[in-house]
């Protein structure tokens, strides 16, 4: 079974949606000082996060039959790339040696697997 390019693009998109979801989870979690179920369920950021997460999952399920699991699942790791970049740009979290090295290795790994598709 060959992996379609469209499936690869959809999984990248799905990981980005997941990463955007994580950003809103973080924003929501920071805003909620005391943990209460009601506050969590009705928090605007948390609702946004859940919607983004679910859309990401649906996109992933759409992509799966169009390619090999051993190609598409590793691309899910691109989630780490988006999360680190979003954290740097939107949350002003600092990059350091470990994070940058990690990003470079993950990108290299995905490119290597992409070549087999």
């Amino acid at each position: 079974m060959k992996t379609e390019l469209s499936a690869i693009i959809i999984v990248f998109l799905s990981s980005f949606l997941g990463a955007a979801g994580q950003y809103y989870f973080k924003k929501g979690a920071d805003a909620i000082a005391k943990i209460s179920l009601i506050k969590i369920l009705f928090n605007k950021n948390i609702i946004t996060a859940v919607i983004l997460y679910l859309s990401g999952s649906v996109a992933y399920i759409i992509a799966l039959p169009r390619g090999e699991l051993s190609v598409l699942y590793p691309i899910v790791a691109s989630n780490f790339i988006w999360v680190v970049l979003i954290a740097k740009i939107k949350l002003k979290e600092r990059l350091n040696f470990g994070k940058v090295t990690g990003l470079v290795l993950i990108i290299a790994g995905i490119i290597l697997i992409g070549f087999t598709a």
């Binding site: 039959p65 699991l69 051993s70 590793p74 790791a77 780490f80 040696f97 790994g109």
Partner: protein
């Protein structure tokens, strides 16, 4: 914080469950959701429930739901493991799921895992480990030491 052994057990378990979720996702993705919905709407509740595991279309839907469930449990276990564990230990172990999924792809779905794929997996697992290290207290403390010594940052 030192990582408690219970967190290590939890996270290995989580990586296996997460990989199991991928297995059922892939199984369930064979039949498009639209066909599953039309199959359910063409039956009544009793007929749907009674042939839930026999009818291939309905079984495909069950597999997707099972995949989602396992995926969710894996994510929850990750959160619990992080409570008593360091990112630098937990992340690399959770990334083990990439190895499990490759093995599942080869044995159950007959996909070819060549040297390039294994190389890619190795790079990804190492990369996730580095991000775990960089995000942990250990990695950030070391960064502060470098700052104090006056070594300029790259960017």
């Amino acid at each position: 914080m030192k990582t408690h052994w219970s967190s290590i057990v939890l996270i290995i378990f989580a990586s296996l469950i997460g990989a199991g979720g991928q297995f059922f996702f892939k199984l369930g993705s064979k039949v498009p959701p639209s066909i599953i919905i039309s199959e359910i709407s063409s039956r009544n509740i009793v007929s749907t429930l009674s042939s839930l595991f026999v009818n291939p279309v309905l079984r495909s839907g069950i597999n997707t739901i099972l995949g989602l469930l396992l995926y969710g449990i894996g994510a929850l276990l990750l959160i619990f493991a992080l409570r008593k564990g360091e990112l630098s230990v937990i992340y690399p172990l959770f990334a083990g799921s990439y190895v499990w999924v490759s093995l599942i792809s080869a044995y159950y779905f007959g996909e070819e895992i060549n040297i390039m794929k294994w190389g890619g997996i190795a790079l990804i697992v190492t990369g996730i480990s580095f991000i775990g290290y960089g995000s942990s207290k250990l990695g950030e403390d070391k960064e502060k030491v470098i700052e104090r010594l006056g070594i300029p940052e790259e960017q």
